[in-house]
Symmetry: C2
Subunit: 425 residues, 2 copies
């Protein structure tokens, strides 16, 4: 595409690209934008080095004019988008790239890879933290996803309200709280469970969490309190029927005087398992596979489409494809979250060509992220986490139901010309 | 774990860790080991740098003795495993790490992240290529997964028989064939479809593939042949009912004399969609989301367990946990693929403590990958691709059915002591 447009002269046409989703994953009631900060940090370093250029030349993938263009590539345009952590709905204009065709088209894979992955994790994680309420969720899924996805997944989960991660590299890269845990191999390495527990308590102190299901849970809990006393920080359950076990272990701990010892549960947890455990005496959830793989929906389904471009005379015109089942809506978008007077959101209003008017209680959703190629917003996970908490809090309560349902807000388009509201099929 | 065992003195105990899966994803008939080459390349560079050590110190995550250990960490043990590309079954000992506890426990996340991700992609990709037969599958899913997973996914898909990838970085990193495609944005950028096609043909030549569903397929196909003549390389369909469209477009192309023009289809393909399209005149499949997300199973479910360790007197003993639903089988494993006299595999025979005896037609499955910390096997994708083709070819035909079913081979354990065959529940 780049080579052909550089040759035809259209590469420099001013364009508007938009990232959006046609629909939420089946039954989900809201999505969560995540990855924006990572994308902006990647954008700042997004160039083509000698090795990449040499490879393209050796394989004769593109011509010399295209190699020259890539060798000096820097994004110099503007980017707008939903703030990281924002909740979104079908059609929400999640990222808007205003640049030449060439500059914008080259960003597609970078933008979509990061947003599709991180938003999928954040959406799943948000359902888990909303269900867990005040009980902390710990991200422990590093071993169930690609080694670099794992680091990004920890960040996305944190944005969506997870308390901490077991991924130390995520702690280092993104300043996220970290929590460790002991595995069964630790117990099995020792000649006895007694020796293993003693070793862990001696090295990590009484506030540590002991894994009690390697052999027999009741025996292990007795042993744990015998060795640590009532100051024992916690015990972890990783198998069996967690609901009934949590009740039994809580009773046992209390009867041994260890009333402040926490119970941490792990073992294929997802939002539904957490919902079932909310009635049990559990203090924290360790979530692995299901959060890092998006709880059944590992990609957010975002696409990146050309929605407007300059005409031969320089006028910007909306463009859209007519492909069956995959039609797009042309034009530069603007977006407003309609809220009622008590601050509860009830509509995603998208203006085509111009911004919809705030009726006083509404909240504009597009933030300028990049101006003339320079990133102009914070990219840290902590700000995004706060933004997500606020955004989720203003959704109607039905948004937090785990049962399959429609998007919590309806998306309404407002056309520039007609000023009438048009609803998509 | 590392800190406590360094303090207790058990960190140096000789150990055997094993990576395996308890079960295949629901209904799947075989798994495919992938990522071994990437793991071995990562292992060669797996050390803890100043930034990592400083982070651990600042956060007081571990003590100084542990930091010292990590700062000089190098894996010096032995690793055995199934060759990359090998088909596997529940309980197959996919990777066996023989080292001190400390050296082996530190590798867990690296090994599992890579193997769980890449094997999930390869297993899904293998079902697709087996179904597609002689028709090439092109990996096009980069935008639907994390930006680095995308590169690894292209490699895993290639190992499982994909023809090529649209991910240029995978082409560069892993020497995989690459194929490009034009998007709707390319057509929409131009003032007309005619201008867009002319631009692409002029720059890329007549052998290029034109995307014909931006506006109207029939009109676009007419235009494509008008501009390119019967030498046109291909057309791509990306929406609508692909089966009926492929028939219509084939007829149209043939009637226009473009009998050699290929039809490439894309649009949420997976192994089932490919199966449905096999009866249609399609020449190549472009597969995106479903291959890079493992077609419903984005993680292979491998775990990494301590299965043997030295006793106080230095004797190696098998160890296993008793956790409900998650019990493990202790002891160092060996593995043989039992084949009948015509070379068809019929059993996965796993020896505990010693190697099962080859009855003449069988194939030993464990290959030494690392000796004394040094990688001693090739790590390239091409060798693994060839190995996979051979391994899959010897499975019974039922292995290639797409319907839900049991693993194609039953797993049988042969105990060292009893020499009797024991079957797991």
């Amino acid at each position: 595409m780049l080579q052909a447009t550089l040759a035809s002269g259209h590469a420099d046409r001013p364009c508007v690209f938009e990232a959006f989703t046609r629909r939420l994953p089946e039954g989900r009631r809201y999505g969560v934008v995540a990855g924006t900060g990572r994308f902006l940090e990647a954008l700042a370093e997004f160039t083509f080095g000698t090795e990449e250029i040499d490879f393209l030349r050796e394989r004769t993938i593109v011509d010399e004019a295209t190699l020259d263009y890539l060798a000096s590539y820097r994004f110099t345009g503007d980017i707008w988008g939903y703030a990281e952590g924002e909740c979104y709905f079908p059609g929400s204009p999640l990222m808007i790239v205003e640049s030449t065709f060439a500059e914008g088209v080259v960003l597609e894979t970078l933008a979509l890879s990061i947003l599709n992955h991180d938003s999928a994790i954040a959406a799943a994680a948000s359902r888990m933290t909303a269900t867990a309420g005040d009980r902390p969720c710990i991200e422990m899924g590093s071993r169930r996803t690609h080694e670099r996805s794992a680091v990004a997944a920890a960040r996305a989960a944190y944005i969506a309200g997870f308390d901490s991660t077991s991924n130390l590299e995520a702690g280092r890269s993104f300043d996220i709280p970290t929590r460790g845990t002991a595995a069964h191999s630790f117990t099995l390495l020792h000649d006895s469970e007694r020796e293993a527990f003693a070793s862990q308590l001696s090295s990590l102190g009484l506030s540590t969490t002991l894994l009690v299901d390697t052999y027999d849970v009741t025996g292990a809990v007795t042993l744990a309190v015998e060795l640590a006393g009532p100051e024992l920080g916690g015990v972890r359950l990783d198998s069996g029927d967690l609901v009934s076990q949590a009740h039994e272990v809580r009773e046992q701990l209390d009867s041994l005087g260890a009333t402040d010892t926490r119970i941490v549960v792990t073992s294929d947890l997802d939002e539904h398992a957490i919902a079932a455990l909310q009635a049990a005496p559990v203090d924290a959830y360790g979530v692995g596979t299901r959060v890092v793989t998006g709880s059944g929906h590992p990609a957010a389904g975002m696409v990146y489409k050309l929605v407007a471009r300059a005409d031969a005379d320089g006028t910007m015109v909306g463009v859209a494809k007519a492909s069956k089942d995959k039609s797009s809506m042309g034009g530069r978008k603007f977006a407003l979250r309609r809220r009622n007077s008590t601050g509860v959101a009830h509509e995603e209003l998208i203006g085509i060509g111009s911004a919809p008017v705030d009726d006083g209680d509404d909240r504009p959703l597009l933030v300028q992220l990049v101006r003339g190629g320079e990133v102009i917003v914070p990219t840290d996970a902590r700000s995004a986490r706060e933004h997500h908490a606020n955004s989720r809090a203003e959704l109607p309560t039905k948004a937090l139901r785990l049962s399959h349902g429609d998007p919590a807000l309806r998306t309404v388009y407002q056309d520039e010309q007609s000023r009438t509201e048009v609803e998509e099929d």
